[in-house]
């Protein structure tokens, strides 16, 4: 790699300019920093620099007992806490050999799908505002607010939910929660139509997204990309279908797939995923079994057997996995997280090469990264 500044005296002598994009840039979604090499507005090279939000979460896991670690997971992908909770408790349950009662499994599915909708709504809001469409932001936040209210009613928190425990659910659904959830979910598809009315067939929107940031399926697989980013390239890989967990094996839903692997396809996929999530939620509400919400646990938990466990789920942004190693003590010996955003960010240089600066913000938007999860 040649240094672009070598031999150049002023800005005029440079063919390529180095541009620091972030970490305080309005559309880097948190504290992502991109070192860009630009030729005019064309991006020659893009080098993501991470670590500005590093809080040592993986180390923190080692310092607490298994059952007290759930709140740490809230703060990783802070716009999708429920799915983080689920991935962690699933790994711990696997380690301890706990079986979750059916009602708890359904409640978890409900919460995760609501979380998926709220995460996708936030993605749509920021993605649209990056491309310059301001109004969808407020529309999506209107609906997201209702979802957060539902979370608040269930567990008292709106973002950092801490709403799952190894072995089951800490609380049952409150009185009237099901009705309010159903009311929201029955209405929600019409709201998606409203967003789509603003964007899907909009000429400018299409011009800004079709053919932008094309991700080849082979490249996507090579980089370990998951989630809507991978499905946008036409690879059918959704853990909810591939290895059904919780109640996903008992409900019907489709996995939307893209063809071209461009930003527009990924947009369409996420919109469709929100529709499918509403379908899942409706079915869960219909089928919600009665019964216990917590597996039998001894009053005082001892450490598990020496060993290891890995559990992965389909988080809104892709495959989220927790790998826990136990040395028999009450807390994990090592807890390693496989965050979807980290893998998805890796492919950003591939996607942005030879695009314009304006496309870069569209592509950052479409990768839907959360830095809390990347840096941990």
């Amino acid at each position: 790699m040649t240094e672009p500044g070598s031999g150049a005296q002023t800005l005029f002598d440079l063919k390529e300019m180095e541009l620091n994009f972030g970490p305080q840039h309005p559309s880097t979604h948190g504290v992502l920093r991109l070192k860009l090499k630009v030729d005019g507005e064309r991006i020659v090279d893009c080098y993501p620099i991470i670590g500005y939000l590093h809080r040592g979460t993986e180390k923190l896991f080692e310092l607490h007992p298994y059952f007290q670690n759930v709140p740490h997971t809230d703060r990783m992908d802070y716009v999708a806490a429920a799915t983080n909770n689920l991935a962690y408790v699933a790994a711990v349950e696997r380690l301890f050999g706990l079986t979750v009662p059916p009602r708890a499994r359904y409640i978890r599915t409900l919460l995760c799908e609501l979380q998926r909708i709220s995460s996708h709504l936030l993605w749509l809001a920021t993605h649209a505002i990056d491309i310059g469409a301001m109004t969808p932001f407020f529309y999506t936040f209107r609906e997201r607010e209702i979802i957060l209210d539902l979370f608040e009613e269930y567990c008292g928190a709106r973002l950092t939910l801490n709403c799952m425990r190894p072995g089951g659910q800490p609380f049952d659904l409150t009185v009237g929660w099901e009705e309010r959830c159903r009311e929201f979910i029955d209405d929600f598809p019409s709201k998606i139509d409203e967003y789509e009315g603003l964007l899907t067939e909009n000429r400018i929107w299409k011009k800004r997204t079709v053919g932008v940031g094309v991700l080849d399926p082979d490249v996507a697989v090579d980089y370990g990309v998951t989630g809507p980013l991978l499905r946008g390239s036409g690879v059918n890989w959704d853990l909810r279908k591939a290895t059904p967990y919780e109640a996903y094996g008992e409900v019907e839903f489709d996995v939307p797939l893209g063809k071209n692997g461009d930003t527009y396809d990924r947009y369409i996929i996420r919109m469709e995923e929100m529709r499918q999530s509403s379908r899942i939620i409706t079915q869960c509400l219909d089928k919600l079994p009665e019964g216990k919400i917590m597996a039998h646990r001894p009053r005082v938990m001892k450490g598990p057997k020496v060993g290891e466990a890995y559990a992965a789920i389909e988080a809104p942004k892709g495959v989220l996995g927790f790998y826990i190693v136990s040395d028999g003590k009450p807390g994990p010996y090592r807890c390693r997280v496989r965050p979807p955003s980290f893998m998805n960010l890796q492919v950003l240089p591939e996607m942005t090469r030879n695009h314009l600066l304006s496309d870069l913000v569209a592509i950052i938007g479409t990768t839907d990264i959360v830095l809390g999860e990347i840096d941990r």
Binding site: H25, P26, G132, A133, M134, I204, K207, R208
Partner: protein, 357 residues
């Protein structure tokens, strides 16, 4: 009282200096500046209602004092000039944006010329090359953006300045062509003459010149850097584009320039294509109640002019609530591949039409 002043100063000074000065003062301090400040509030309110929220409503009743609070804040804010900026250019740039936008108002008629000699013309001056003057002045404003972007010595500003240069090249041309067709139809370059020609023809020029109007307005939106063509200041891409490094009152001047430009574009569109200060269908007697005969004629003229201008400003705000932003190369595409050929075709058709009739 005016007579005694006339005697005191003599007609030359009275008509040549005092009246224009008074008119400029009234136009600036009663017309443009309050309209701009409240246009900002109106924009925030209308955007608010488009986006299912309320907009500013804390300062004063319905937020009516919000613009005043904003201006106060900008006035007392620290004015930072970056250390390595090119100082004179940095200071000059905002003036280059605001100045021309205000100067253009000199040739825009908000009402008819005086009925009898010695009366009050409702414009500052009627130049016989008014249209040319407007095009020339509007071009200068772009230099403000380019110089502002370049002198800031910041990479994001530079990119914003470059974008505005590209935008200028792509949009001045079709805009000029669109205006050519309109003045072919009117047979005059004087703004007053164009309005009178529309009355004589009995039809707003927007009907025979629909294509021309469309091109003019789209190019106008691009020229005033508004959605969906707000690339030079695209906040999600270039932080704040050419005015990234500006703060306090200097930033406010850019802001003022943008809104003044919006009003200019709207006012020119109204004058050229929507019959200026005349009520709709000025030759239809049955609608003469729209002239509000019980009010002074000058006031009614200004009223109709203002109504039409505000309709355009609303469209501007509406755009902002609806559209995403174009990309830099797509904008050039649109300008060169679509609007310039269409504008040329429009000139050709208009000329043919004039020839045949």
């Amino acid at each position: 009282m005016m007579e005694s002043v006339l005697e005191l100063l003599g007609p030359e000074l009275y008509y040549g200096a005092l009246t224009p000065a008074l008119k400029i003062a009234v136009l600036l301090f009663v017309g443009i500046l309050p309209v701009i400040t409240y246009l900002v509030l109106a924009e925030r309110k209308i955007l608010g209602y488009i986006q299912v929220r309320l907009g500013p409503n804390r300062v004063g009743p319905w937020g009516l004092l919000q613009p005043i609070a904003d201006v106060m804040k900008l006035l007392v804010k620290e004015d930072v000039i970056p250390n390595r900026a090119i100082r004179w250019a940095f200071i000059l740039a905002p003036c280059l944006v605001v100045g021309p936008a205000f100067v253009i108002f000199a040739v825009i008629p908000v009402g008819p010329p005086a009925a009898e000699p010695g009366g009050l013309d409702l414009f500052i001056t009627d130049v016989n090359v008014g249209l040319l003057f407007i095009v020339a002045m509007a071009t200068i404003a772009v230099y403000g953006l380019i110089i502002g972007g370049w002198s800031s010595n910041s990479k994001f500003s530079l990119l914003g300045g470059l974008r505005s240069a590209a935008q200028m090249i792509s949009y001045e041309v079709p805009q000029g062509f669109a205006l050519v067709a309109a003045l072919l139809l009117a047979g005059s370059m004087s703004m007053v003459g164009i309005v009178e020609a529309q009355k004589a023809a009995g039809v707003w020029f927007v009907f025979p010149q629909f294509l021309g109007f469309f091109i003019y307005f789209v190019a106008g939106v691009a020229e005033s850097n508004r959605n969906p063509f707000d690339l030079p200041e695209a906040e999600s891409e270039l932080v704040a584009g050419y005015h990234t490094e500006y703060s306090g009152m200097r930033f406010a001047l850019f802001f003022l320039g943008e809104y003044a430009n919006m009003i200019v574009i709207s006012a020119v569109a109204v004058t050229l294509y929507f019959g200026g200060w005349y009520r709709p269908f000025p030759n239809v007697e049955a609608l003469s109640f729209l002239d509000f005969p019980f009010l002074p004629a000058g006031l009614v003229a200004v009223f109709w002019f203002a109504v039409k201008v505000f309709a355009f400003l609303f469209v501007y705000i509406w755009f902002r609530g609806t559209f995403p932003r174009y990309r830099f190369d797509q904008l050039m595409d649109l300008g060169w591949k679509w609007m310039i050929p269409l504008a040329l075709l429009n000139i050709f058709l208009t000329a043919l039409f004039k020839l045949v009739l």
